[in-house]
Symmetry: C2
Subunit: 425 residues, 2 copies
């Protein structure tokens, strides 16, 4: 893992503008799939499942027997871990629940904001080797707390027609109402527009491959979606108080996700930088996912030496990392200097993996610098607001002429008339 | 305006699935514009402005002299109206400002949510005849309250190279930092990716034509955007307590926006329905924008007769209208039955036009049924959240084995190791 100065880093990484690539071929394929599902419904879903997942399914819905079977395959340890994770995720997300509110103004005016849950939501959960029960919890629990009426889940079936048992158990634990064995763009189309078997939902959340991400972008507007995820990143700000073996392990835990993942440590200490460099090299040798990690660290992993923490924080705010670890003296005092980051982990005993599974806050975080303008997935993503306006006759008279003036200035005379007709004689 | 039963209405309006039309030709044009602006910057902006707006500009930024000129053209009435509107919009939106929060858990655990403003935002304001100063206030004031550092505005210039003076005065009043004379997809591209003159922003909000809407959809992900707006609608639920001349005026005020606008009244009273029908016919004759209104009412305007308010509310929740007026006895008591609506206006003296300009809540509302899954524009659109996680060594020990179990179940062994390395001996 190379040690560089901030200048060197900036030269190497001239900020691109935007991570999205336009790929008309991909878009055509994805739109073709969406249109076919809209036209042919279940039939299309089954054909795509045969084509892409290599399995012919009679029934798209996971049965109670399949859930039972999955439960039987769990170890006691996994069950306990999942239960603990659920409790802690629930405790944190309960705090996010927004309340409706009202204010009163002069002459009987009442204004407010009514907060209500979405009627339904669909969660995409990737299948195959990357089957993450934690993703199920992180998406379904906030929806449940919001009060969503119907939580559907889609996930591609394995070649034998089953779904990963850990994922099924997590779905049951988190209160998912129905699980469909569908993946890819076809699953997104089914959730957005409905088929004979799949009921349309109001919002689609959850991670997926390029097909899924692109399909979500296309249906966005007809349904709501969460963020479009790009490659993810961790940035550790460290001083001499940080333990090199901890920081190395955290960088590697990010790097093992994906060759495109970014793991960066910014430090004010050259002694620490060198210790970290050695530790990273040593730990890579021991890692199971060594090839992915090596590639990711070589391409995107850097130790950046800076003179001051101020400089480090400026870098962080420009990077807007998904995960930020502040492994410095009194990290809590540095919090006000951080503007852009998905999740901020403080101190030596708050590694990213703690947040991925157990601490409580959501692990679905804005990636690729989008933390500069978006938030972690939360209960607020599964609720919406309606404005409430109540004016009395008396209150309206006070503003009637002003509204008429502005409406006329905009050329909207029927707007003006709707006030005029209510004016007292 | 035709009076129909709910059955007849349902037959005529078999719910389409999704309002977005895929139009590859439009998309290609829009993407071409975006790419050209990314490559050629200001030069491209000037060329497109010449091509689309018919004016050759030296300078893209509105000068202090132009603001001064605009101020001079204002009437005292308009200035007063704008000032009042600003005060009321500010008062309501102040209530939306979210606070950071922290919770403590056992053994020194500290979790939280830090709320911070976006660094910058860009507001699109349509030009030409449809120049709406109210749009400026409704977009800029919440951004200002959120604490956004830099508020930019783009709006297409008129043929003489100037910007509508009402819009400029509203921009100054609302605290916009810079106004660019650019419109269309090229303005969205400039805001999303930056040029020599235009600084990139983090989020783009505001209404626009098909080019603008499509460009926003394409840059979404690289920057944040507000909702993609479709045709708008009003739904009035009325009983015998409603005044037909008021309801007619409100329906027409929506219809004058656009031939595609929808104005519907659902009523339990056939006496009221007939009185409303007559009143609508009479008011159309007097309206300035008669042709637009007539078209809109003929195509999409209906009076729907129902037996019960319950039936009416079921319809409302399926329609998820942008504007809902409850003109029934004790409207406040009916509020709990409304799940899906952008803004809810209560009683005879709370017409939509009051909300468009003056009441305080935002007039940028989810259209075309998207109120089922999204919210009015608000201060929350200009802020983002970061999760805060602080565990102590002691607290981490309690959950270390559980995290290791789940991480291993997911095959992410470097995640497991980052916990393992922190376990007490």
């Amino acid at each position: 893992m190379r040690i560089v100065t901030m200048e060197q880093y900036s030269l190497e990484n001239k900020q691109g503008n935007g991570f999205q690539q336009n790929d008309f071929e991909l878009d055509k394929t994805v739109l073709g799939i969406i249109e076919t599902v809209r036209e042919q419904g279940d039939q299309a879903l089954k054909e795509y499942t045969e084509k892409f997942d290599g399995v012919s399914l009679e029934d798209l819905i996971v049965t109670p027997e399949e859930f039972e079977q999955a439960q039987k395959q769990m170890t006691e340890e996994f069950r306990t871990g999942l239960q603990k994770a659920k409790e802690r995720i629930t405790a944190f997300h309960e705090e996010q629940k927004e309340k409706s509110w009202f204010i009163q103004q002069e002459k009987g005016i009442l204004l407010g904001q009514q907060v209500t849950p979405l009627d339904s939501v669909g969660i995409y959960v990737p299948g195959g080797k990357a089957a993450y029960p934690s993703t199920v919890l992180m998406n379904a629990i906030p929806a449940k707390i919001a009060g969503v009426g119907r939580i559907a889940m889609v996930t591609p079936p394995q070649k034998d027609g089953t779904v990963n048992p850990h994922v099924l158990v997590a779905a049951q634990e988190a209160g998912v109402d129905v699980v469909y064995k569908i993946g890819g763009a076809q699953a997104i189309a089914a959730l957005a527009y409905g088929t004979e078997t799949v009921q349309k939902v109001m919002k689609i959340t959850g991670p997926g491959n390029a097909f899924v991400a692109r399909a979500k972008k296309w249906v966005f507007g007809d349904v709501a979606i969460d963020m479009i995820a790009g490659p993810s990143e961790i940035c550790v700000v460290a001083d001499d108080s940080a333990a090199p073996e901890f920081v190395a392990a955290d960088l590697l835990s990010q790097a093992e996700h994906d060759e495109r993942a970014t793991a960066i440590c910014v430090t004010t200490s050259s002694v620490f930088a060198e210790a970290l460099q050695q530790e990273v090299a040593a730990q890579i040798e021991q890692a199971d996912r060594k090839l992915i990690i090596e590639q990711s660290i070589t391409d995107n992993g850097r130790i950046i030496l800076v003179d001051t923490l101020e400089e480090a924080f400026q870098f962080v705010n420009e990077l807007a990392p998904e995960h930020l670890q502040l492994m410095v003296d009194n990290p809590m005092e540095q919090l006000p200097f951080i503007r852009n980051a998905g999740a901020i982990f403080l101190g030596n005993y708050s590694p990213e993996a703690l947040g991925d599974y157990m601490a409580g806050p959501n692990h679905t975080l804005p990636t690729s610098g989008t933390a500069a303008f978006s938030s972690p997935l939360g209960v607020y993503d599964f609720m919406k607001r309606s404005s409430i306006i109540h004016y009395t006759e008396l209150a309206l008279q006070d503003v009637a002429n002003d509204i008429i003036t502005i409406a006329n200035a905009e050329g909207l005379t029927a707007h003006a008339y709707s006030i005029q007709v209510r004016k007292a004689d």
